[in-house]
Amino acid sequence: MRHLLVLIALTSTALHAAVPSDHAERMERGLKLFERDISGLLKEHCLRCHGGEKVKSDFELATREDLLRGGSHGPAIVPFDAEASHLIELISHVKEPMMPDDKPRLSDEVIGKFKAWINDGAPYADPLIAGKKPKRDSSLVTDEDRQWWAFQPLKKVQAKSIDELLLKKANGMTFNPPADKATLARRVSLDLTGLPPDPNDASDFSDQIDKLLCSPAYGERWARHWLDVARYAESTGFEQDYDRPHAYHFRDFVIKALNMDMPYDQFVKWQLAGDEYEPDNPLALAATGFLGAGVFPSQITANEVERTRYDAMDDMLSTTSSAMLGLTVGCARCHDHKFDPFPTRDYYAMLATFTTTTRMNIDIHPDGKITSAITTKKKKGADTPPIEGATRMMICGEGYEPIVMHTQGGPFFDKTYVLRRGSTDMKEEEASQAFLQVLSKLGAENRWQWQPPKDAKYSGRRRTLSNWITDVENGAGALLARVIVNRLWQHHFGTGLVPTANDFGKTGALPTQPELLDWLAGQLIAHDWKLKPIHKMILSSRAWQQSSARDPKKEAADPDNGLFMRFVPQRLEAEAIRDSMLAVSGLLDDTMFGPGTRDENSKRRSIYFNIKRSQLIGSMVAFDQPEPLVSQGGRPTTTVAPQALILMNSPQAREWAEGLAKRVQSAGPVPEQITLAYRLCFNRDPNSNELTAGADFLKSGASLADYCQVVLGLNEFIYVN
């Protein structure tokens, strides 16, 4: 971090040939050439696309400063050295893209003039466009950039409740009346645990919330939301899509952390640097699976080794910034971010955090000792055999033996460089660790810097990052808190206070309730970053408990429900649909943790499906479980025929129907059976139409299982009102 200022100073240093001794003479000659020929030639052939009407390849040349800085292909010229100048290569048609674009090559005479002018230092008498000022150095972040709402400190909002803040903005509108007790019981149970309520539970609502928050099923439900954000899967992707059989520890970490209500700042710190915080604690080590959950090629040719490594580090950085900060920092890999103040240099400075971070398998011995478990595709039989009593775990950090693929290179490079256009062929200086300038108070670097003990296996860089990301006063902590309370809100209401949960930057949506967002973020911090109190606060609000009754006036005044003056029914996610069906059919196996399976006949909760990128679970994908490739901030809700086919024809659906039939069989005569099915599935009694329709169906010779299959297929089953 102490290199931050040095880095900034370096940025304006373009590539320069040595200044020749006859500098003055040359510049004078060059100026003449500029006035006589070059100015006109640039205007005629180049300016239109590079600073005139358009700016292609991020390259402008109306001023000398712009020309020297260059664009996405790097600096355009090297003063005093035409042969080394990219512009000459392009206009001579030696390199692509040949310039001028789509026009014949300039004559040798004209090219000769350009060469002479560059060799004379490429002086400008005036800008090509009168009065034009050079574009500012975009690697510096200005005070104006810091004005964006998401980069501001948290506003101190005085309020007593969520409802107070919502009503304040509601233009006189008011909440819908509260939903009835049975609807609320079903809503809160599915919301917190992804399972339907016990129809016999008569406890009051506040107790229900507490009970559900203490249920292990809470972690199993809410961990899945985080796994979407963490692009979690248990295989490598790419060519062979090898299994990562020891990756599930990360999934178990998330469930455990949520169930124990681990403070969110610690949850974040451990995922980035659990090994640097508690090198002997298996749970802290498992947390680092976050960094390692992304794709990685299994076959890497010699000339791909370096690019692949940058891709892998980019995956760690992009996922970290999307998941934790709701920022698309990855866009700055090839060019300064087009919309947000993330210069390419900030990107590489952050990327340097992960220079020596790799995936590793470790064995945790019964006595607590930890050793490397060698895993390599390069040499058959070299893998460490399983060790009696030991747990093998995939982590992502430093200090143990990296997992090796079929590669013609090593696991990482000792240095990370700033790359032009993201290309490993265009290295600039070495990148030193630093963070987004726009979220760093100047002079605060020393607070984050963490020096590991002398004999440590790790560099301390990830822990340094985690210090910055959780620092509310000086670093990114305020944004970190906003992003997570927004995710909580999103999963309770179907839409976040910031509707684009993974993008708080300028291309994302603005917060519909900025004060409420900051108030909630403040509450989170005040509650030691514990999530359960925030859940309770939200679920106890009138806003969350109001009914979903239609009100055409409200719909017209607030079509997107940004005011939250009504509750919008939500479709359950793939996992909650399947888990609920298993639950009502009495077949659910509630065994927690451990390796998963890809067998759709499994009776365990869906979070325990093994996720292999090339063999995703059909019933999950059909109901919109996203592909685990990049961080996903939300899921679409589609309604497609394959979903219906699953419920009509899959062996599982039939089994669930038979299970439910068995449960309701003993309830008594047909009306009692129908009533019990409705209570189990919908937490309500059937109305007379429903009773008659069901009875008529059964009278016509259909089996009870046929009937139960229909009940499981009803819209009401997969929607929460």
Binding site: D241, Q299, P636, T638, N649, V710
Partner: protein, 471 residues
């Protein structure tokens, strides 16, 4: 469509997506497709369906469609300045190697073809060849991803998904984008499903992979514990109860769509198996494709299925020729002669039949047929007892036929030995822009908002439609 009631994405989610966007596509036609060019394009726009024969593993252009007499003259010479890292095996670099196949001119256009494809060569006057293609990677999966999604990295939407997103479906009972892979147990292309994934587009646009053996689509058959009649009465009860609960719901249209989705699923149970039933085709058609021939029957059935799907309104069909890599696909590292002879033999008659059959049914003009792989192969030998050729990202040939494409036309050239694309070079993004143009989609306007940006299949480097290939 200027002020849509719903976003396109919402509409698709509501109307049932890839498996049945009929209602939607007619709505769109009425309101004009937002992705169609603002100004009518000078070229293209005729293709309603696309069949992409993906010669997996990287077929050698200098042994198929790119005749290089100079290579024969320089047989055995060292290729000066050759970077051994160009291919996959830096340690097996041999000298220049002439094609082991015989080349002859075909058709009015006098197109040179090797003797690998005697039947397909009869159609050269309907085909446009792009000889100057090049790509970014010398390795299968990144190159496959590049060819399918425009990116060498995993996880971006593929061409089929973009077309599906841009055009919607014309079939109310079949998926609008299907993928067929090798049915002879030789594996999937590297990276498998990521090659037909929807990436950041909604998952309804992903390709439906037809299982090569057994039932091609999951859950299509009524379970043994039910009968079709009982299922019908189940669905009647389901619809009745669902309808009763519909009135007054704030998400009525979503619930309505779900009622429809069950009816669509019910229809699919009969229409989809019918579409796959190539045995119902008359004898002479089966013979034309070679459905019952041992050497090519499996690929013939896939090509014939493709035609049946085109007739039923399926938009995008991709068929992979060959399995995973090495001897299992066109990846002729060893024995280029035997390798290419084998895979050509499997596919020549079916591909030729597909073109003839589409033409005789008047479908060729509205169906774009594409043939190509993920890269080409080097003009030098990969050393070994039976020499092969290593990967070549610098040059390969793709041909297109039908869908408004010119006949007997050759675009671009490689250098005199076929090492690198030399004139009128065509990048993968250019190729994609051209495919979209054939389908009437403007690659500049076919965008989807993701991570705050209007994402495009063709990236930001100003790709160009190869206009010259269109009639």
């Amino acid at each position: 469509m200027k002020t849509p009631l719903y976003s396109r994405r919402q509409m698709l989610a509501r109307t049932g997506g890839g498996f049945g966007m009929l209602a939607l596509s007619s709505m769109l036609e009425a309101a004009s497709n937002p992705f169609a060019p603002k100004v009518p394009m000078e070229v293209g726009g005729k293709a309603k369906s696309i069949i992409w024969i993906f010669a997996n593993g990287g077929p050698s252009h200098v042994d198929t469609w790119d005749y290089k007499p100079e290579l024969a003259k320089r047989d055995g010479q060292t290729l000066e300045g050759f970077d051994p890292k160009t291919g996959f095996f830096p340690g097996s670099v041999g000298g220049l190697m002439k094609s082991p196949f015989e080349f002859k001119q075909h058709g009015q256009s006098g197109t040179w073809c090797s003797d690998l494809f005697p039947k397909t060569a009869m159609h050269v006057d309907k085909m446009s060849f792009i000889h100057s293609c090049w790509t970014d990677s010398n390795n299968h999966s990144p190159a496959l991803f590049k060819m399918n999604t425009g990116q060498t990295r995993m996880g971006y939407p593929c061409v089929g998904s973009w077309v599906n997103y841009g055009l919607g479906s014309e079939s109310d009972s079949l998926p609008s984008f299907v993928v067929m892979s090798d049915p002879l147990n030789r594996g999937l292309p590297k990276g498998s499903a990521a090659n037909w994934g929807a990436g950041f587009l909604p998952s309804i646009y992903q390709g439906t992979w037809l299982k090569p053996t057994g039932a091609p689509i999951d859950n299509l058959a009524v379970p043994a514990s039910l009968t079709p009649q009982r299922q019908r009465s189940q669905l009647d009860l389901l619809a009745k109860l669902n309808r009763q609960a519909l009135a007054g719901s704030p998400i009525e249209s979503e619930l309505e769509a779900r009622i429809e989705s069950f009816e669509l699923a019910y229809r699919m149970q009969t229409s989809a198996p019918e579409a796959f039933d190539v045995q119902s085709e008359p004898e002479h058609i089966q013979q034309l494709y070679g459905v019952n021939e041992k050497h090519c029957g499996h690929f013939a059935a896939q090509c014939l299925t493709a035609r049946r799907m085109v007739e039923r309104g399926v938009r995008f069909i991709q068929i992979y020729s060959g399995g995973m890599e090495n001897q299992l696909s066109w990846d002729g590292h060893k024995d280029i002669l035997g390798n290419h002879r084998g895979f050509a033999n499997e596919s020549d008659q079916p591909v030729a039949a597909l073109i003839s059959d589409l033409e005789q049914r008047g479908l060729l003009d509205q169906t774009l047929v594409i043939w190509g792989g993920e890269f080409g192969r080097l003009p030098i030998a990969q050393k070994g007892t039976q020499p092969g050729r290593d990967h070549n990202p610098h040059a390969f040939t793709v041909w297109m036929c039908g869908g408004g494409v010119k006949g007997g036309y050759h675009h671009g050239e490689t250098d005199e030995i076929g090492f690198k694309a030399a004139t009128d070079k065509v990048s993968v993004h250019d190729l994609h822009a051209t495919i979209l143009a054939a389908a009437g989609l403007d690659h500049e306007r076919l965008t989807f908002k993701f991570q705050g940006l209007d994402q495009k299949l063709t990236g930001v480097e100003n790709p160009k439609v190869v206009k010259e290939i269109f009639a």
